[in-house]
């Protein structure tokens, strides 16, 4: 396909660019457009095949059914079926709980870490590298390591708790389903460790743009440390804070890998760590024989609508920023 993009360009572009007087206006315009579309064709085809078409197809498939190789319209059948599936509600409850936990842990921690790092005059480079290092690890490496730490019998975490004379935990294998479950908190801790570097560095950059005079003025007015954070730092980084809020929600709601690797398939005990994307995967690929692409698509459409809401909010905010 690389050849295609290059070849299409050849005939039209040279005369159009070099000799503005040659040829009729229309012909020139046509050639110029052909050349430009030649540059576009590779990316447009990839978008068409792997983004635009699947998006439409997911919506269509969610209203279809396939029995014995024959596809027909099914109306709302797929939606009704997953509505009556208790796992569907469990997965949404889990995903919402993950999102709330990730907001409490994964969203607040990087902000305070950034504030702390911004005050330090030494070891800045070192600390920055430290915080971002886990982001670069292959997720399987990081998560299998955490699964090892979380092991209830020979894991490091329970050993540390025992040494400190604290009660031990089953971590990701905790059976409970009462909110917040220990299993989920364990997943969110691992996820935060892996992912907090990006948000921390973005906050740090935002903090460095706050004019020092604002802190000066606040201090002269007698504002203490916490009030300076609340009345200067937070309002000055409000836009970045709200953008990352949207991004964090979107990222957490499509969580798959963490639960999948830590609880071997994403189910946990009694499905207590199963996320919506884990369930899409189960609907479509895991239940061998009964695999049903159509109910997976219906679930996909619902998640797509929810996520579009938040990513729309993010894009709207980022336009304001530019």
């Amino acid at each position: 396909m690389a050849d295609l993009a290059l070849k299409v360009d050849q005939p039209g572009s040279t005369p159009a660019a070099a000799k503005p007087a040659a040829g009729s206006g229309l012909g020139r315009k046509l050639r110029r457009n052909l050349s430009a579309h030649g540059f576009l064709i590779g990316a447009v085809l990839c978008f068409a095949f792997f983004s635009w078409y699947p998006m439409v197809r997911e919506i269509i498939m969610s209203f279809q059914k396939t029995t014995l190789g024959v596809t027909s319209w099914a109306g709302w059948q797929n939606y009704v079926r997953i509505y009556h599936d208790p796992t569907f509600w469990q997965a949404w409850r889990n995903t919402l709980e993950f999102t709330v936990l990730a907001l409490i842990i994964g969203y607040a921690v990087p902000f305070f870490v950034a504030i702390l790092l911004n005050e330090l005059r030494h070891a800045k480079g070192y600390l920055r590298v430290l915080v971002y290092l886990p982001v670069m690890l292959p997720p399987a490496s990081a998560l299998l390591l955490f699964a090892y730490f979380y092991n209830p019998t020979y894991g490091l975490f329970n050993h540390v708790l025992t040494v400190l004379h604290l009660p031990t935990s089953q971590w990701v294998q905790s059976p409970g389903t009462t909110v917040p479950t220990a299993a989920m908190i364990s997943v969110v801790i691992a996820s935060t460790w892996m992912n907090m570097g990006g948000a921390t560095l973005i906050y740090l950059a935002a903090l460095q743009n706050i004019p020092g005079e604002l802190y000066e003025a606040a201090e002269l007015d007698g504002a203490g440390l916490l009030r300076r954070i609340w009345h200067v730092t937070v309002p000055q980084t409000k836009l970045i804070l709200s953008m990352l809020l949207m991004l964090q929600i979107v990222a957490t709601m499509q969580m798959f890998t963490e639960a999948f690797i830590l609880t071997n398939g994403g189910a946990g005990v009694n499905d207590n760590t199963l996320t919506v994307v884990n369930l899409i995967y189960q609907y479509a690929f895991a239940l061998s024989g009964a695999s049903n692409y159509n109910s997976a698509s219906a679930l996909g459409v619902i998640l797509m609508l929810v996520l579009a809401l938040f990513s729309g909010g993010y894009l709207w905010l980022s336009r304001e920023r530019d």
Binding site: F39, M55, Y293
Partner: protein, 296 residues
Amino acid sequence: MAATQTRTLISAAQLNRKRGKLVYRIVLTLVVVVFTLVFIGPLYFLFSDGLKSTQEAIATPPTLVPQHLHPATYSQAWSRVGVGRLLVNTLYYAFGALVLQLIFDVAAAYALSKLRPVLGGTILAMMLATLMIPATVLVVPQYLTVADLPILHLNLIGSPAAIWLPSVANAFNIFLLKRFFDSIPRELLEAAAIDGASALTTLRRVVVPISRPILGVVSIFGLVAVWKDFLWPLLVEDGYSPSRETLNVGIFQAVSTTPQNMIIAASAIAAVPTIAFFLIFQRNIMSGLTAGGLKG
């Protein structure tokens, strides 16, 4: 940045007082120690637990330092999990995806920014609209599409193209590149055109050389995205012999049949290239992250 320290939460005057200095010293030491423990600590275990024997790795209580060094665990993990093969696969997927992204996304962003063809605005809007729909939501129709490409009726499952081609449909690349190209002055391109350069020559000789910084950002994100992806390679490259899996998928699939110490050793080997890559390019990666906009 250390040279011109701007005023932050706490004033320099306050820090220079005797008490301020003491408190600062304590906080600094605490932060350095705690952060080292939290972020390097797990990495220490990642590398040292791979040196344990199978029995020691699952001993209760766990040992903090391997009692008997078993470097053989690494070589066993290498052959048993097939880490070498997985590493080559992942590199092949990552760099292939990068090359295609650089060719097609740069060309497209250039056309949308400078050549401005008919319907260019619509195409750009449709590309950017995909930012609203994260790829994970579309796995099912995407998988079915890759298994039977419309019109062409090609099955890409198990081929590198199943990872390469979808990676080109990256609206974030288009957005970043177009925004950068927009800032290139028109006169520069017109001068090239007067010298008789075609659009392609202008792109290669003028635009690409001055776009190095943004191409660096796009390349780093492109490589890291393939390196870190899990769900998609699990769907499209799984279950072939010899293996076509990526590191992430291959090691995960080995968990049920491989002793714990070898899994950790394999995970450690898998982490080495990215850690090295990060330490070499840390400046570019971290400045790219903040300059290139916000991407999770």
